[in-house]
């Protein structure tokens, strides 16, 4: 029984840590600009494939860690281009932004699909920083995943510090609170939105770098699953609430893990849990756990 509880707790924490990183960026962009960026899951997927493609390139043999730097830079730039080329021209219409980012996600998926590595599943285990595991109460704690969880917590804390203490962070908060007032105070809201989308893409890229070396690239459509779960996380935590995203991520993570371990035949429908969460929260508390009620 203790092993089952450890199994549930560890994997719930692991799942929560991954979703926290992905959902935080997703929520940030919505909170600041009211932008629902449906290509966010594709950033996660694409980072994985960028890492894979570079690892398959002879130039990077012995320089594996350079691939991480390049992949994160590229995905951040793609985030920026998404804003400049697609979101900015359409940002007055929420529906148009949703549709265009949805289209971008499909485009990125298809681009990966037609690549030579796009049709198979792959491991990028060369980028695992830690090997092996340690037994705790009869349960193997995998070192790579401990690294992920620790790094996720560190990134969340650094991010909170950045938002609250740095000049750019304060500008982001100002734009999220009142875009017009921020503009009157001399803040270039459009530029802040650009930075926000780039930061969110970077967070998705970091999640991919931390998680995928211990996991796998499951195909170009893998981004949708992460997008859906992130969506559940931010609906649960409250759209635009960073604390809510982190809390929501761990609640979703533990719920999936609990279903996997303790519910008979739970693994067959554990991934229905986020969808159920979306429906239930939207019905009983549309603003989420930490979100503010919208004034009408």
């Amino acid at each position: 029984m203790i092993v089952d509880i450890m199994n549930m707790l560890f994997n719930g924490t692991l799942t929560g840590a991954v979703y926290a990183l992905i959902a935080m960026g997703y929520s940030l962009v919505y909170g600041v600009g009211g932008i629902m960026n449906l290509s966010h899951g594709a950033y996660f997927m694409l980072t994985g494939y960028l890492l894979l493609w570079m690892l398959q390139t002879p130039f990077f043999i012995g320089l594996e860690w350079l691939t991480v730097v390049f992949a994160l830079i590229i995905i951040t730039v793609i985030g920026g281009l998404t804003f400049l080329l697609l979101v900015k021209p359409l940002q007055d219409s929420h529906v148009a932004v949703v549709i265009v980012t949805f289209g971008l996600a499909f485009l990125l998926e298809q681009v990966v699909l037609i690549s030579p590595s796009g049709t198979e599943v792959w491991s990028i285990g060369q980028l695992r920083l830690f090997q092996g595991y340690t037994m705790v109460f009869g349960y193997p704690i995998v070192h790579q995943y401990v690294f992920l969880i620790v790094m996720s917590i560190v990134i969340v804390l650094l991010f909170a510090l950045f938002i609250n203490k740095s000049k750019l962070g304060k500008s982001i908060r100002a734009v999220s609170q009142d875009r017009e007032a921020a503009g009157l105070m001399g803040i270039n809201a459009s530029r802040i939105l650009l930075y926000t989308v780039m930061i969110s893409a970077l967070l998705a890229g970091l999640a991919a770098f931390l998680y995928l070396p211990g996991a796998s690239l499951d195909g170009p459509s893998m981004g949708w699953g992460y997008l859906l779960n992130s969506f559940a996380v931010v609906i649960l935590g409250g759209m635009g609430s960073l604390i809510g995203s982190v809390a929501g991520a761990f609640i979703v993570g533990y719920t999936i893990s609990f279903t996997n371990v303790f519910v008979p035949y739970g693994p067959s429908w554990a991934h229905l849990v986020p969808i159920i969460i979306i429906i239930v929260i939207l019905l009983i508390r549309p603003q989420g756990l930490f979100g503010k009620k919208e004034l009408r």
């Binding site: 092993v3 049709t119 198979e120 599943v121 595991y133 193997p140 995998v142 995943y145």
Partner: protein, 479 residues
Amino acid sequence: MEKLAKRIIAIVIIAGLGVGGGLGAWFLFLAPGAGEYSWSSKDCPGAPSGISSDQIIKFGITGDVGEITGDGAWEGCYLAAKEINEAGGIKINDTTYYIGVTREDSDEANPNLVTSRGIAAAERLVYNKKVQFGIGGFRSEALLAYQEVFMDNEIIFINTGAATDVFCENVRSWYTRYKYFWRSMPINSSSLGEQIFNYLFRLIYVLNATYSGEIANVGIIYEDLTWTEDLVTGIEYYFGPYGPLPAYRNMLTANIPYDVTLTAADMLTHVNTLMAADCDIVIPIISAQGGLMLMQHYATLQPNFLVVGIDVQSQLDTFWTQTNGDCIYEIQMQSIHVTNKTPTTIPFWNAFRAEWGHDPLYTASGSYDALNFIVWAINETQSLQAYPTLTQKMETATKANILANPELFPSSVGGLGAYWPTTHDLVAGYPFGFTLFCQWQANATKVIMPSYNSVYIDSQLSNIGTLILPPWLITDWTT
């Protein structure tokens, strides 16, 4: 008022364009017979240029384009067509015909399956490309839907990828409708389950004799999909409380079905559940990415169990690179390898590798056999009539007839290709439809395991190797 009028005109124009565009597209591409495909020598690999559509026997392949299963079906058919065409095609009543192959994307390997895409693919093959024969299929849920298009149009369709029993049971129960349906690969789910059990029965016996009865528990982990149902039922029976062999009863201590969209974190949970259940052998029944995840965690955690089962992705030689070698020690089932299952197996293996640069997947060997099977029937009957001529000829490829006169039937590469005349299902069991158990060993080598004569006669096959256990497992079982 003027604004309103403009708005109404704009709406009318947009609606007109939309409806017009939609209707145009429908007439051009979707309506039965619309936008008819023009067959030419480009569809006939290995055939001379300049041949007309009338000289082509048209085969349509359904499968997921860009996925290993669908590509395998295409590659197998392509190779078979090329060989036949290069040999001069086939003669029907003194007229030379060539084999044309075309494919449509059924998107059936997509975890988020949309069955209408498979139906649309089948309709494009039947109505627009006017195929005379169909080959392919992989995902049972998809094939169940789109097989009806072929049955509606009385076109022979050979399934080369879906194991679910029900397909061929339909032939028995409603022959008038489903008589055009056949399965050349794989053997059905129940038979697969039986062959796994037969192999494990001997393997456990051998291991217990070597390691003093250490093998006591078995676990299964499988995709919660239609194709695994019969297989799982079989394994649950064989290792359950009412199993046929008392020594193997109550061995099943973990039973994990999972959703195919699972993540690596989910798989980690399941591997830990298998470890907590003290499994000594774990049977995966996996066709998608779960296999790679399982073997990754297996390599990291080094659990005290051996992995023996179905892992479709692992059948390809690229799996070693894909997993960075984490698949080492996995024993998985595959239809062919470099061994003399039949006299044509190794030549096919070599020709396939020369053509495509990688090992053939089970859908590839099945499709190769399927196309050759149909062409054999055409040759024998000198007819293209699906029923009764070709169907009844194909129904003569029974176990008894092939054993009595093997030279009268086409040589299949996956085993002696005999079919049950009442179900059109591939006959299972050595030397007909039988699976090979292969283990990944060091340096990316894949070795055929001895089956201890449980599934195949070891001495009759070439290149049989030796089982190598993971060192941590040996340590656990000897201490």
